[in-house]
């Protein structure tokens, strides 16, 4: 007993004061679209279809990157002959919709040479991060501002996300200091932290867990598979796909698996105490949605 006390005193505080300060060596790939030539080598090597090219319209070409699908394998970074894809170090990526995790660039294609020239960022119309944040805040009405009870539901994960969710509660990250607490029953929960892909065999259990949670219940999808089906895909005989195929999702935390800091960030976003950010350090800022092609 005495030795335990001595050891504990000697160890001191191991908790990171600011868990968001240290940058990882690799977060998500960042595409410098203006220096992209549209060769689509990256699309070939991407195992999940996070990178997609569309050249169905003559004279036009688009390249899109979705962090919802990205498993952070780095194949695109290695494959790009123009070195236009850089290993980004951003990890606090959370959003309120799948679409907010997607960037798409448009290119003009020269009919004679086949050469593609960057034209601008193309964004699908949809609510901006600010609008989504306001909607979520209105829905939870500040009720989750100080404490959050979380019920984790594994709806089909490979257990990688679970390892990192457990890590958020370890002495280093210690999420309880933010008022976040994991509970044993959905009846005690404000928020469901759901990993995927949602399997056919877990669909009913997931719906029942959701029904068991009191309003205003917030749903957070974790991981590439929870956000989009990831490497397992969507609509297969066994995997339905992203959590939003089954439940309304309020916040998406992409990554394979997301680091504990990313999960923590996503939970703070869901509480309405932190704003979602989608700012990959790169020269291609995302313009306001609804404006179509940025000139």
């Amino acid at each position: 007993m005495f030795s335990i006390l001595v050891k504990s005193l000697k160890t001191g505080v191991v908790t990171k004061a600011d868990p968001f300060s240290a940058r990882p060596p690799f977060g998500f790939p960042v595409v410098d679209f203006p220096s992209c030539t549209g060769c689509a080598e990256c699309v070939q090597v991407c195992p999940t279809g996070a990178l997609q090219a569309d050249s169905s319209t003559p004279g036009r070409k688009t390249l899109s990157l979705s962090y919802a699908l990205c498993i952070q394998c780095r194949e695109c970074v290695e494959a790009c002959p123009e070195r236009a894809i850089q290993p980004g170090r951003e990890f606090e990526v959370a959003s309120y919709s799948r679409e907010q995790l997607t960037q798409r660039a448009a290119f003009d294609v020269d009919g004679a040479t086949g050469q593609a020239t960057f034209r601008g960022m193309e964004v699908r119309p949809g609510p901006s991060l600010e609008e989504s944040a306001a909607t979520l805040k209105e829905r939870i009405k500040g009720r989750l501002g100080r404490s959050l009870h979380v019920r984790q539901v594994d709806a089909g994960s490979c257990n990688g996300c679970e390892l990192e969710i457990v890590a958020t509660a370890n002495p280093v990250f210690d999420l309880e200091r933010f008022g976040i607490h994991f509970v044993a029953s959905p009846r005690h929960a404000d928020l469901l932290l759901v990993t995927g892909p949602v399997t056919r065999n877990m669909e009913i259990a997931l719906r029942r867990t959701y029904e068991g949670a009191p309003e205003p219940r917030v749903v957070v999808a974790v991981g590439a598979c929870g956000c989009s089906g990831g490497i397992f895909g969507e609509g297969t005989y066994a995997a339905i796909g992203g959590v939003d195929r089954v439940l309304p999702v309020d916040v998406y935390i992409p990554g394979c698996p997301p680091r504990p800091q990313a999960i923590l960030n996503g939970l703070l976003v869901a509480m309405g105490v932190r704003e979602a950010r989608l700012k990959p350090e790169g020269p291609a800022p995302l313009p306001e949605p609804g404006r179509g092609i940025a000139e």
């Binding site: 030795s3 335990i4 050891k7 504990s8 160890t11 191991v14 990882p24 060596p25 690799f26 090597v45 195992p47 999940t48 498993i71 952070q72 394998c73 780095r74 984790q152 539901v153 594994d154 709806a155 089909g156 994960s157 490979c158 257990n159 990688g160 996300c161 679970e162 390892l163 990192e164 969710i165 457990v166 890590a167 370890n170 002495p171 280093v172 990250f173 994991f182 044993a184 029953s185 959905p186 892909p197 399997t199 056919r200 065999n201 877990m202 259990a205 867990t209 598979c225 990831g230 490497i231 397992f232 895909g233 609509g235 297969t236 005989y237 066994a238 995997a239 339905i240 394979c256 698996p257």
Partner: protein
């Protein structure tokens, strides 16, 4: 013909044995010969490591494969027998060899082949609401469809009757942050009479998915079979692909693969030891273990680029390298870990309140473990001396000196102490691998396509036990069958044997001492 072929041919009473590659023998036999050969295999010390089917197309029918592992001669031996599609049945060996139990029922569930003579021919993988005749791994079954749900009885669990005797249902959504599965306990007060398992909630169609993905992308799917065994499964997959291609992995990469696999073993063993302490409410060592584990995954991210070592194994080698400086950094870290880890173990076993909870709790006897075909750490904690790193060495293990610890107790304490001793050995292996790292490249160049109509076996002894990947290609060189054997699939029946006789509150710690993967089991 090599002598190993002759030995096996004689022992198993076969007409011919082909050596496909080093440590990979194969023989074709008649379907009705399989049970007699299985008896001879067990009598001559072979161990059933996998049993699966493949669909060879509408005209050619199915093949049943029995995969055995032997140490004298040290090789895998695959027996395959043709099944006529007009008569979709095969002889069961499960009555005599319980290790085949779930394997044969899974073939029934996904291929619609009936195991004749199986003592319990019920669904194992398919849930009650699956329709009849939806056999997902048959070629005729289209992957991208949703399978309708059928109305039916709730899973028929074994009834319990008597005064004060009742059932306790747990799951699929559990109280902790763990994977889903349903446990049905029959209890008389606190003591557990029996435990029945209802798993396969996280069945993701992984084996079918391998058939759809390009083979290079399959590596990332392999990493997601069980997230805590990303390196183990990635290695097993990479080995199978490299053996198919006939590619030799550069020596430096072989050593780095050992480093990665042992780091994975370390962080999981350390985390599990902490989790065992958590489950008996001993929070100080639990927190200490969590700190050690967090430091390990942090340095993994720094040195290899990923906390859980994803994306580190490449086809043909590894996708990371260690400079002299970084090797030194890792060695210093491990040295510090060793001291702290010793303190942690001392703290646990010097505490009477802790050892009271783990001694003689959740005993899995040696004979039961052997009969069920238990593997890996759980097998070694029940006195079974098996480890593919030594018995069928892969990567650089043949060049490294290490021991395979074996504990006799079969209880929670044995599984805890086995982990502790394996951590010691891992540190020894890591020291040798890091100090003796050969110079050279880390990634071999690969041909553009896999050889057509071929197959190969890849294996790795991961932290939980052996991971086996059998990959088969079609006439165009595409993957047409990927059989993934995760250690959890073989070890779950062991948990069901270890729990009865214990009290219900001890279940969490018994379960944690096995720490089986639901995802790896369900795939």
């Amino acid at each position: 013909m090599s002598t190993a072929c002759d030995v096996l041919r004689e022992r198993l009473g076969l007409a011919a044995v082909t050596e496909l590659r080093p440590r990979e023998m194969a023989a074709e036999v008649q379907l009705d010969q399989l049970p007699a050969i299985a008896d001879r295999a067990v009598a001559s010390g072979l161990r059933l490591v996998s049993l699966f089917a493949s669909d060879e197309g509408a005209e050619r029918g199915f093949t049943i494969h029995h995969l055995w592992s032997g140490s004298e001669p040290a090789t895998f031996m695959r027996l395959s027998a043709h099944v006529d599609p007009a008569r979709p049945r095969f002889p069961s060996i499960a009555a005599k060899h319980p290790a085949a139990n779930w394997f044969e029922r899974e073939i029934m569930d996904y291929f619609g082949l009936v195991p004749d003579g199986h003592p319990n021919p019920k669904r194992v993988a398919l849930h009650d609401d699956w329709p009849e005749a939806a056999w997902a791994l048959r070629k005729a079954f289209v992957d991208g469809q949703s399978v309708p749900r059928v109305e039916g009885d709730f899973h028929p669990f074994r009834p319990v009757t008597g005064e004060g005797v009742f059932q306790v249902p747990v799951g699929p959504v559990h109280a902790g942050i763990i994977e889903p599965g349903h446990f049905r306990f029959g209890v008389a007060g606190e003591p557990v009479l029996y435990l029945q398992l209802r798993l396969f909630y996280v069945h993701k169609g992984t084996e079918k998915r391998f058939e759809r993905l390009p083979w290079r992308h399959g590596l990332f799917l392999a990493e997601s079979i069980s997230g805590d065994t990303a390196v183990g499964h990635a290695l097993a997959y990479a080995h199978a692909i490299e053996r198919l291609l006939g590619v030799d992995v550069p020596p430096r990469a072989q050593y780095l693969r050992v480093v990665l696999l042992e780091m994975e073993r370390l962080y999981n063993h350390v985390a599990d030891i902490g989790a065992i302490a958590t489950d008996v409410a001993f929070t100080v060592p639990a927190s200490r273990a969590q700190i050690l584990r967090e430091r390990l995954v942090t340095i993994q991210e720094r040195l290899f680029g990923a906390r859980l070592l994803r994306g580190t194994v490449g086809l043909g080698g590894v996708k990371c390298d260690l400079t002299v400086g970084r090797r030194k950094e890792l060695l210093i870290h491990l040295e510090r870990l060793e001291g702290e880890f010793d303190d942690l173990i001392k703290l646990l076993i010097d505490s009477g309140t802790f050892t009271d909870r783990v001694d003689d709790t959740g005993v899995l006897g040696r004979q039961v473990a052997q009969d069920l075909g238990i593997v890996g750490m759980a097998a070694r904690a029940s006195g079974l001396d098996l480890d593919l790193r030594r018995d069928q060495p892969h990567d650089a293990y043949a060049a490294l000196r290490f021991q395979v610890p074996v504990e006799e107790g079969g209880d929670v304490r044995a599984r805890l102490m086995l982990r502790a001793r394996e951590v010691e050995q891992s540190l020894l292996i890591l020291k040798q691998a890091l100090e003796g790292l050969p110079e050279g490249s880390v990634l071999a160049a690969l041909p553009d396509s896999l050889p057509p109509s071929s197959s190969a076996l890849g294996w790795a002894e991961a932290w939980r036990g052996e991971c086996l990947h059998w990959i088969q290609t079609d006439a165009r060189g595409q993957i047409t069958r990927a059989k993934i054997t995760d250690p959890s699939f073989k070890n779950w029946p062991g948990l069901a044997e270890a729990v009865p006789g214990n009290i219900l509150p001890d279940f969490p710690v018994i379960n944690k001492s096995f720490n089986l993967s639901y995802s790896g089991n369900d795939r």
